[in-house]
Symmetry: C2
Subunit: 417 residues, 2 copies
């Protein structure tokens, strides 16, 4: 077989040279050259400059002695490129502790098994999600990212100059996936989200990716929560089974997830927090701080993953269905150890109520005419959610900063690389 | 089993009522109610308003008499929503001939088997592509869509206000996928492309989707062309095998594709065109018109899919590798019956030559510093391509306008829905 990668580390012990090559797999290929057996190969391996791009022909060694990676019996090796400057960062061992360095040199640090493992898990998350959704009858769609109006109002929209007109970047496929529920019973999209939030925290990105799902013909919000909890369990258990080497490299133990997840009413969450001495101002959404505290309390009770349901209407988007009491909505969050990783709920599918909701939220129904139109022709009860890929990764892998979960960071100050 | 959808058509013949329901499958579910056998069901089915959203419990009938879809023995049926206004478009039979209507009401027309078939094929294309690429060692990535500089210069960039700074929407992941080849041997992304081209033709969109691939450690441009032709053959044969009902509904016959595809040098293409009386101005790229003519000539020779290779340097992006003659490049197009569906080639991976190429193209290397940096540390020879999903769909399904291949159209004038 032919394998390719970059010389990560090289060591000569007497008449034996050991070269580690970082390729497509998370663990390096380990090439061993013995002067006595093959002097030519020994010489080539001994003189490979650090960081060179090489391919070799070989087979996995019968005896696997190295713990660092898979050992190969090498037949031939060829150099494709050599560094023209010394490597600007160390690529073996621990990844740099300075976040700035990690973000700047991510494209190079990916040669490090730790950095690479993170993004191989990311790929698995996306694969697992698609597998689960397609197997459950969801159709994959692509909706526009340049839009005329945002689902959540103007404050967090990035402006785009679209020829003569002013347009925006899509905050989420919310409006589009909903109108498709007037003709396709179940849809999903793997999509970038663009949010001009000015936060500069460890849990916010201005360009992030999500798994966005919408499901029609539901009986209640529970149907949507079932889909979400089963999806998340499927993803985590998939990574647990298929990414053993990655998890080992990252020193992460991922317990098998079972469903159902605990459901906590919003008021219950507030009560739990208050009885644990956390202040929660009346009529407000939970702060990041309160979410974290709740996470600790829930984890102690054995609930790493739990829903918070029935958010008050004043803190939600216009499209969530309100309960009869006019105060509660069918909106839920899914929290993972104190971090909201998904948000969703049952939508208002009744035309009149939807127009009323827009007005109550101070939005002009005229700006949503194509969206409203779709509610006139047999729009079934429906609901859905957006699951943040980077946030899920943070909690699965114990990353300290969401910027570790994305190849190229877009935040309050970063536009390059 | 429980199935859901919308009442598409209903017909009563004496004591038998036949209702077609458009659900998740391309062909409708056919529900038959006989007054003599089950008067209650007969009554319910007879009075279902057109366009209603319904779910039913039932099993496929032992005897399948209907040619329209799959017949079901219905145990129970429930109405989830009814239209509050008459349907604005006809949802059975042929799709509306007016493109404007199709674009405006796509979210509703998807109840029509013809419209739905198109987007089920689209889903299959994306699934097949991922399957092929993952099985061949390509890692799925997500690169930023908000960028500081475009791969192809400023003329076709949409401007975005990114907080205090001016930024752009990504024309393609070109620069990002390339720099990742300094640490991951093979990558791909399914991604939106944003191009502010002012064309208003049947083959251009301003927001489109593509399958973007980059491959390191290549011996020549041929390695990249092999990946592309095998990918396209895999996709087409996958749809041919898995979407028989969709193809039948669309009245499309898709011949099995075999590789390799014919390779045509750019000069050969020009010669063929000229000897067939088509004018091709010296030193220019092929016009859309010339491409179409060439398509006809090639199809007559049995080549529906063919490469054009070695485009002249003056008409290509700065990142293509130039041949020693300084005139030809290792850029290719893949054409499908006269339409360019993919474009790619071998890249310049040598730092000095790349800086020179930027200067020759009148671009300032300072604007590409993060990109150039990645070429200093063992960048192997590499190449890749972008394959346009909508253009591939057009040619596979014989669509007349690229706007038929995308759920929501973004073109020179359309920003809604």
């Amino acid at each position: 077989m032919r394998l390719c990668g970059w010389v990560l580390r090289s060591k000569t012990i007497g008449r034996v040279v050991i070269v580690e090559v970082s390729g497509g797999d998370v663990r390096p290929y380990v090439l061993v050259g013995k002067q006595d057996l093959n002097p030519e190969l020994y010489n080539t391996l001994s003189t490979l400059p650090l960081g060179s791009a090489v391919c070799f022909e070989g087979e996995p060694a019968r005896e696997q002695k190295s713990k660092r990676g898979t050992e190969f019996e090498v037949k031939s090796i060829k150099v494709y490129a050599e560094p023209i400057e010394p490597l600007p960062v160390e690529l073996v061992g621990k990844v740099p502790s300075l976040l700035e360095t990690r973000i700047k040199y991510r494209w190079l640090l990916l040669r490090n098994p730790v950095e690479k493992a993170i993004f191989r898990v990311r790929q698995s998350i996306v694969q697992a999600a698609r597998e689960y959704l397609v197997n459950n009858g969801f159709m994959e769609i692509h909706t526009p990212k340049i839009v005329a109006a945002g689902a959540e109002g103007g404050a967090t929209l990035f402006k785009v100059q679209y020829f003569e007109r002013e347009a925006y970047l899509s905050q989420s496929p919310q409006l589009y996936k909903q109108i498709l529920i007037s003709s396709i019973p179940r849809v999903f999209e793997i999509t970038p989200y663009f949010r001009a939030e000015k936060f500069n925290t460890v849990r916010h990105l201005n360009e992030s990716w999500g798994i966005d799902v919408e499901q029609g013909f539901i009986e209640s919000m529970e149907d949507v929560m079932n889909t979400l909890e089963n999806l998340v369990a499927y993803i985590i258990n998939y990574v647990r089974d298929k990414n053993k080497e990655e998890l080992e490299t990252l020193d992460v133990e991922l317990p098998r997830v079972t469903t159902p997840f605990k459901r906590l009413k919003f008021e219950e969450a507030v009560d739990i927090l208050r009885s644990n001495g956390v202040e929660v101002p009346e009529g407000e959404d939970l702060s990041d701080q309160a979410e974290r505290e709740l996470g600790k309390i829930m984890s102690e009770k054995g609930n790493d993953l739990y829903f918070i349901v029935g958010f008050p209407w004043q803190s939600t988007g216009f499209y969530y269905m309100r309960e009869e009491d006019g105060h509660h909505t069918r909106k839920f969050d899914l929290d993972f150890r104190g971090l909201e990783i998904a948000s969703g709920g049952q939508r208002e599918h009744r035309y009149d109520k939807l127009v009323e909701a827009l007005r109550l939220k101070g939005l002009d129904p005229a700006n949503f005419s194509f969206y409203l139109e779709a509610f006139k022709y047999g729009m079934p009860p429906h609901g859905g959610f957006g699951l943040g890929i980077e946030r899920l990764m943070m909690q699965m892998l114990g990353l300290n900063n969401i910027r570790e979960a994305v190849l190229f960071v877009r935040d309050r100050t970063r536009l390059v690389p």
